[in-house]
Structures are given as structure tokens and as C-alpha cells.
């Protein structure tokens, strides 16, 4: 029994991700010894911030049995509107205002998604697709398509605050890690705790597993669905403002298209697309893997134009492993 459990752990989704990350790092490291540097850790963390934030939104929705393809559009609106106001209406130079408005906008669209899915019972894919179009189309029509590349001083101050400054002894270059990296790290810990130790978290798994049984057991299914979409909207508002600060760019289309890589990151991380499965650990590993691949392909001598192709292959492999794991889990019930 014990060795069986140990075997199950060693071949779990998370451990397989660890193996793949180790093998990939080893290959890159052999070709390019410069890879073995603390700078790689800093670079990976910096590059993973957005994907990690988005994955934390999507993961919650998928676990609850839904899907959200509207978060990139919501994020764009949530960073564009405050920047538009600051630049063209009233120069309110206050970080609380920028983040606060972004959160409010995310909240509004999250409530809309929740209403469409939980109250009107629309299929989540269609409902969030509609929200995406409404958000994206609405902001372009009303406020136009500009690009704001200058941050107000309060946000610039955040940009200038670094958590770690590191000078590589090998290259002499200086690497920094922005303080905003703490946001996904803290939220990861909070979400992991919430999913495991609160009835809210268990409720999300429960409605993702069997909605009818959840209702019979006394869970408030509608409330939990609302919670998932509202969380996704609110946190993508925060994530989009982080994007604006770190990239110095707020446009109406910057994040569009990110939903697919985010959903893929969740699925590779063991979040089953049908709901009710997965957790923070797997998603963190999967985000690290995807970021490593995206960042370090050039180190292997693979041209940048091949990056998307290779990322696609990684996604495919990851998904095959996940689906194979699911089948194996189902098969054990026959034995």
C-alpha cells in the first residue's frame, strides 16, 4: 500500500513537470553554462509574473467547472481606463487610484460574467466570449485606441522599487527583480490555503465535480460560481495594472490572446478542463516550465521564429501527459 502510494506520488502530474523542468534545464545548461546563474532565476520570475497572475484567475474558474476567456479583455480595459483618465482627463497621480479603479472595473465585468453563468445559466465559454467582446469593443468605441507609455510618478516609483538587485560575477550585468513579484507569490500562498482549508475552496471543487450533488449537500452553487468569476475579474484588474507598470505600456489590446496560453498552463499544471481538479502547486510548476522554454530557446540555438512552435509542442506533450494521467486514474477504478 505504502509503496503504491509512493509510486503514485513519483508519477504524479507535479513530479512529471519537475522531471521535465530538470531535463530541460540540464540540456540548456550543458549547451550554455551561463544558464547556471542566479540571474536565470530572476529572469524567469520576472517573465512569469503575468502568466502566473492570469493562471491564478483562470485556475479558480476552471476548478469551479467553468472557463473564462474574457480576462485579457477585462485586463486591457482595467489598465487602459485609469491611464486614459490620468493622461487625458485629470492627472490623478495616485497608485491607489490606479489600482482601485482597475479592481472596480474587473469587479464589474466579473459580476457580469457571474450573472451570465450563474443566474442565466449560459455556457461559460459563450458568456465570457460575449463579455470579452463587450469589454474590448466598448472601450475602443468610447475611448479610442491610444498607447500610454509614460507612467505617473506614483506608479513610476513602484517600478523603481526592486526587491533584489544582483550583479552577475560571470557577466558583470546587473539583474533586478521588481517588488511586484510579491503579488503573485503571496496570492499563490493565499489561494493554496483557501482551496485546501476553507469551505469556500472546497465548495469550488465540489461544484466543479458534481453541481447537482453540491446543491443537494447544501452548497450555494450560484454564490460559488459568482465568487469564481468575480475573483477572476478583480485579480486580472490587479494583474493588468502590474503589466502596465512593468511594461510601461497600456493599450486596448496588449493582453488579447493570452487566454489560450493561460488555459494551457492550467491544463498542463493538472487543472482538468472539466472542473474539480488541480491546485496551485501544479500550475506554478507549469508556468515555470512554459516561461523557461519561452525564455531560453535562443540559448539552445533555436531561432526566435521557432519559439511559438516549440511552445506548442510543449503544450501538446503536457496535455497528453495530463490526459494519460486522467485515464490511468480512471482505469484504477476498474481494477
Amino acid at each position: 500500500m505504502n509503496s503504491k502510494k509512493k509510486h503514485a506520488w513519483l508519477t504524479s502530474n507535479q513530479m512529471i513537470l519537475v522531471y521535465i523542468i530538470a531535463v530541460f534545464s540540464l540540456i540548456v545548461g550543458i549547451r550554455q553554462p551561463a544558464f547556471w546563474d542566479f540571474a536565470t532565476v530572476l529572469n524567469t520570475m520576472r517573465a512569469a509574473i503575468f502568466t502566473m497572475c492570469f493562471a491564478l484567475c483562470e485556475m479558480i474558474v476552471i476548478i469551479s467547472g467553468g472557463i473564462d476567456v474574457s480576462f485579457p479583455a477585462i485586463g486591457c480595459v482595467a489598465m487602459y481606463v485609469p491611464m486614459y483618465i490620468i493622461n487625458r482627463v485629470a492627472p490623478i497621480d495616485n497608485a491607489w487610484f490606479a489600482f482601485g479603479l482597475a479592481v472596480l472595473i474587473g469587479l464589474a465585468f466579473g459580476l457580469l460574467n457571474g450573472f451570465l453563468v450563474a443566474i442565466l445559466n449560459l455556457p461559460p465559454l459563450i458568456a465570457t466570449l460575449a463579455t470579452s467582446s463587450i469589454a474590448s469593443g466598448g472601450v475602443v468605441t468610447i475611448l479610442g485606441t491610444r498607447e500610454f507609455t509614460v507612467l505617473p510618478s506614483s506608479l513610476q516609483a513602484i517600478y523603481n522599487t526592486n526587491l533584489i538587485t544582483y550583479t552577475s560575477p560571470k557577466t558583470g550585468f546587473q539583474y533586478v527583480l521588481n517588488v511586484l513579484v510579491l503579488v503573485p507569490i503571496i496570492v499563490c500562498l493565499l489561494i493554496a490555503w483557501m482551496l485546501k482549508y476553507t469551505m469556500l475552496g472546497r465548495g469550488l471543487y465540489v461544484i466543479g465535480g458534481n453541481k447537482t450533488a453540491a446543491r443537494v449537500a447544501g452548497f450555494n452553487v450560484k454564490k460559488l460560481q459568482f465568487a469564481a468569476y468575480v475573483w477572476s475579474g478583480v485579480f486580472v484588474g490587479v494583474a493588468a495594472m502590474i503589466y502596465n507598470i512593468l511594461m510601461h505600456s497600456a493599450t486596448t489590446s496588449a493582453l488579447m490572446g493570452d487566454e489560450m496560453i493561460t488555459i494551457a498552463a492550467c491544463v498542463i499544471g493538472g487543472v482538468r478542463i472539466t472542473g474539480g481538479h488541480g491546485g496551485v502547486g501544479g500550475v506554478v510548476l507549469s508556468v515555470i516550465l512554459i516561461t523557461l522554454v519561452q525564455n531560453n530557446l535562443n540559448m539552445l540555438g533555436i531561432p526566435t521564429s521557432w519559439q511559438r512552435f516549440v511552445v506548442g509542442i510543449v503544450l501538446l506533450l503536457g496535455t497528453i501527459i495530463t490526459s494519460w494521467q486522467t485515464k490511468r486514474s480512471m482505469k484504477m477504478s476498474q481494477a
Binding site: Y197, M199, G201, R202, V206, G209, T212, F219, M332
Partner: protein, 516 residues
């Protein structure tokens, strides 16, 4: 209602299992307290009377069986007891107290727990969580204490006598395991009356035995148990008392010892349903023969033949090769060697297409997933295997399709208002008749049925048997694959018994029942 003098006076084949095991007969639980009492419960939905005055009495420490054909109002009655539907008229007494306007939560608080056929469990959570979670919700917990969850689960499993790994995800358990989890959950939620809706449908015989063991253990602890079931042999095995409903009406109730097969059948169906043994006129005209049929690892050297009018039964334990022969003859897993003769002509079967071309029909064991398009209409299902016959050039002849479907609806007396409703809305027996209609519409010469009456109630079962007998008399070869021995003995004039892939015995069904 006073037939208690002749409790076992049955002459029909239905009595096979009944004489040996009747655990409830001398329980003498008269002194036990009545837990649930229903008086004259009536309920109608938009003018349709689902319940027309039902009385019911269940005592503590008693296993009470609720029986009746499909559509008799069993599910509505369960919903009335569990507070889902409020009855239009009548009284509900729980523990000597009259309860009015009962809501589901009131029923749960009074200890009424229903285990539906889908168990309402969470496949993605562990065994422990499935057992404990409902109680945690009820207690309005905000946080999860995993130690407590494990303790609750262990306690529940100990009380029930279930041995399961608490950390196992539920989706990895077989159906019987999921059912045990549902029972444990009911017990930790202080069930005083446990209602199980057709609990044995998806279980193997061994699992049913384990279930009975668990229920008897709970009964000793004073828990009242109500089982919805219409399988006579199982009722005799487990029930102390019995209530029979028909068309929403209370028909009879009493100790299990007051019932015999004949009375049970009569109360269930309202007819004197004494099925006679099938005994066709002997004929020398061979319809179907297989010689030395072999598929390595499944069955070996299988030979049998059948003449006009014969109904052949194929039986044996699960894994004996009985089902595999059916699948081989229909070309799903074609035989490797051996000869097959249909109406005296040698035929080759290498695929399902070959089988259909040679006019062989097959009703699979799992009709829901293999034999029917549940969301499509009766008509679509009826013509599904014969649709090529209705092509006239590039278009389908809708009129002919409708006529054929309507004819089968009538001939097989499928209880449906028209050929338009989806098959999903039909009862098990009627759905099975649609599968039969589908194949009959291909005008088969050989018709193989695997478990044709599984999940079908007694009335419809008898009707299906009649249909099969009629077909056999017309010269269609009928093979019934089943582990339901009474059914085979009654309907087949020839029985092939399989064991480990080999034919053990071919009998003309004149043998003693016990030697089977």
C-alpha cells in the same frame, strides 16, 4: 390480502430463490417503534395523479421494500418523504409527530436520508471528504479541519462496516464503493431512515451480498431502511416487509412471509401473470448452427444448433464466455475459426457489417450506451439500423419511416403517446422494446439478446418474453444471453451452459432446476 396460510405455495418458476432464504420471516419486530407513517398521501402534477392515497409504515430496525412497476409513483413517494414535493393531501408522521410543510432540510434534520441511483457523490474528492463534507456544510463550517474530516469518515466507515482507503479519490472506486461511501455519509449525518433507490441495479452478485450484509448490520443498530426494488429474488433475500404500489395507488403491505410469487406478481401488475414454460412444437428445420467456434482467450470449440421455433439460452458466470460469443456472432470481436450456418447456408462473419448483411440482430447488454440514442425520438431509434431501406434516390421516404415506427409502437405495445418523444423519457422496459423494434425493423433471421430484461420491471419483462416467443414461432432464431436463470428456464427450450470459455452442457431444458 389474507394469503398468509400459503406463503410458499408457488408453482411458478419465480419461486427458485424464495424457499431457501427468507431472513425476514420470523423477525417479529412488532414491538419496534414505528418511525415513519404515511396516511393517504396524494400528489398530482398538472392533473396527472402521481400518488392517489398511499399508506406506508416503516419501523425502526426494519428493512422495508417498496415495490411497483415503473411509473407506479415510487419516486414521487420518495420525494414526498424527503420533503422535495409537498403532498396535496395526507399526513406524514415521523417518530410519532405529525410533520407539516416539510422541506428537504426538515427531512434531513429528522434523520431521513435518501441515496439516489447516482449517489450524489463527488468523484473528484476523496472518500473521507465525501463522507464528511455534507455534515460540515450543514454545521455552517467556514474552515476545513482535515483531522476532523478523517475522524468523521473513519467513524462512519466503522459504523457501516466498510473498508475503504479514506484518501482514495472517489473516481477510482467501483460503483459499489461509491455506494458504500454514500451510505457512510448518510450514517454520519444521523440517518434514522435510510432510503435506497434501486440500489442493486449496477452491482455484481457479490457486491449485492456485501450490501445486504451492511444493511443488516445497520438494521441491528435500529435504523429503519427502505429499499425501492422490483427484483423478486432480492426482495426475498433482504426485506422484512413489503409495500406494493401500482399506478400511484397503495395495493398491499405486509410481512414478507405473507407474500408468495403469485401474489407478488398479481399485486405488482394487477394481472394473474403466471408465465408458462416455453415449449415449441418440435421441428427438424435447422435455423442456425455453429461448429467449433473459437476465439483464443475468450471461448473455444463452441458448437450448438437450433431448429425452427427454438429459443436458445446461453448462460454461465461472468467471464465464462457467454457475452463474448454474442459479440463474436455479431462481428464485434469476430471468431478466429469455426463454421457458422444460418438457414442451412454457411456464412462468414468478420465484422459487424457482415453480421448485418447476413440479417443478424444484436441487443447489447448496456443498451443505454450501446443500443440507443437517448436524446433522439423513438422513430429515429427505430429506423436507425434500417435507414438504408428508406432511401429513394437521394431522399428519405419520411412517410414509410413513420409508418414502420408506428407499426412497431403498436405491435410491441411501447407505452408512449407517439413516436416523437426522445427515448430518454421512456422507462427501462419500453426503452428495451425500442431496441428490439430497431432490430426487428431490419427483419433479422437471427436475433441475439444480451441481458434483455436487465432493469426491466416484471410486467414489461413478461411482454418482452411474449414478443420473443412470437418471433421464434415465426422462424427467427432467438438467442438469449443471460445470468437470470429463472428467465432462461422459462423462455428457452434449449440452454447452453458455458464455463471458462468452453461449453459445459447443452440441455433441452427438461432437467432439474437444482442441477444448474
Amino acid at each position: 390480502m389474507n394469503e398468509s396460510e400459503t406463503p410458499y405455495g408457488s408453482e411458478t418458476v419465480w419461486g427458485f430463490f424464495s424457499k431457501k432464504e427468507r431472513p425476514g420471516q420470523n423477525m417479529g419486530n412488532e414491538e419496534n417503534k414505528v418511525f415513519l407513517k404515511l396516511k393517504g398521501i396524494k400528489k398530482s402534477f398538472g392533473g396527472v395523479h402521481a400518488l392517489r392515497g398511499v399508506d406506508l409504515e416503516i419501523r425502526e430496525g426494519e428493512i422495508h421494500c417498496l415495490a411497483g412497476e415503473n411509473g407506479c409513483g415510487k419516486s414521487t413517494l420518495i420525494k414526498a418523504i424527503s420533503g422535495v414535493h409537498e403532498p396535496d393531501e395526507g399526513e406524514i408522521w415521523i417518530n410519532g409527530e405529525k410533520v407539516e410543510h416539510m422541506k428537504p432540510i426538515d427531512a434531513i434534520n429528522r434523520g431521513i436520508q435518501v441515496i439516489y441511483q447516482d449517489f450524489a457523490v463527488f468523484p473528484n474528492l476523496t472518500v473521507a471528504e465525501n463522507i464528511a463534507l455534507n455534515g460540515e456544510v450543514k454545521n455552517r463550517k467556514k474552515f476545513v479541519n482535515w483531522k476532523e474530516i478523517h475522524q468523521i469518515a473513519e467513524r462512519g466507515m466503522a459504523q457501516v462496516g466498510a473498508e475503504l482507503d479514506p484518501d482514495m479519490p472517489l473516481e477510482q472506486l467501483p460503483v459499489a464503493g461509491k455506494q458504500m461511501v454514500a451510505i457512510c455519509r448518510a450514517i454520519v449525518n444521523d440517518a434514522k431512515l435510510l432510503i435506497l433507490d434501486e440500489p442493486t441495479t449496477a452491482l455484481t452478485e457479490k457486491e449485492v451480498g456485501k450490501l445486504w450484509e451492511v444493511l443488516r448490520g445497520l438494521k441491528k443498530k435500529g435504523i429503519a431502511i427502505m429499499i425501492v426494488n422490483h427484483k423478486l429474488d432480492e426482495i426475498y433475500q433482504i426485506a422484512d416487509s413489503l409495500t406494493i404500489l401500482r399506478n400511484g395507488k397503495y395495493i398491499s403491505s405486509g410481512k414478507i412471509s405473507e407474500y408468495n410469487d403469485a401474489r407478488f406478481m398479481k399485486d405488482m401488475t394487477g394481472r394473474d401473470l403466471v408465465e408458462t414454460k416455453y415449449d415449441p412444437a418440435p421441428s427438424d428445420e435447422e435455423v442456425f448452427r455453429v461448429d467449433h467456434l473459437t476465439l483464443k482467450g475468450r471461448f473455444e470449440d463452441v458448437s450448438f444448433s437450433m431448429n425452427k421455433g427454438d429459443i436458445l439460452g446461453l448462460t454461465g458466470l461472468l467471464g465464462s464466455g457467454r457475452g463474448e460469443i454474442g459479440e463474436a456472432l455479431f462481428g464485434i470481436t469476430p471468431p478466429e475459426s469455426g463454421d457458422i450456418y444460418l438457414n442451412g447456408k454457411k456464412i462468414e462473419i468478420h465484422s459487424v457489417a457482415d453480421a448485418i448483411k447476413n440479417k443478424i440482430g444484436y441487443v447489447p447488454e448496456d443498451r443505454l450506451t450501446q443500443g440507443l440514442f437517448m436524446e433522439r425520438s423513438i422513430e429515429d431509434n427505430t429506423i436507425a439500423s434500417s435507414i438504408r431501406d428508406y432511401f429513394h434516390g437521394m431522399s428519405l421516404n419520411e412517410k414509410e419511416m413513420r409508418e414502420a415506427s408506428e407499426r412497431w409502437l403498436k405491435d410491441l405495445s411501447i407505452a408512449a403517446p407517439s413516436i416523437d418523444p426522445p427515448v430518454r423519457t421512456l422507462s427501462g422496459g419500453n426503452a428495451q422494446k425500442v431496441v428490439i423494434a430497431k432490430w426487428l425493423n431490419t427483419h433479422p433471421k437471427l436475433f441475439i439478446l444480451n441481458g434483455p430484461t436487465v432493469g426491466v420491471d416484471v410486467g414489461a419483462k413478461a411482454e418482452i418474453h411474449d414478443i420473443l416467443r412470437g418471433l421464434a414461432k415465426q422462424g427467427i432464431g432467438i438467442i438469449i444471453i443471460s445470468d437470470d436463470l429463472p428467465e432462461l428456464l422459462q423462455n428457452c427450450n434449449k440452454i447452453v451452459i458455458m464455463n471458462k470459455g468452453k461449453v459445459r452442457l447443452v440441455t433441452d431444458n427438461k432437467i432439474d432446476k437444482l442441477s444448474l
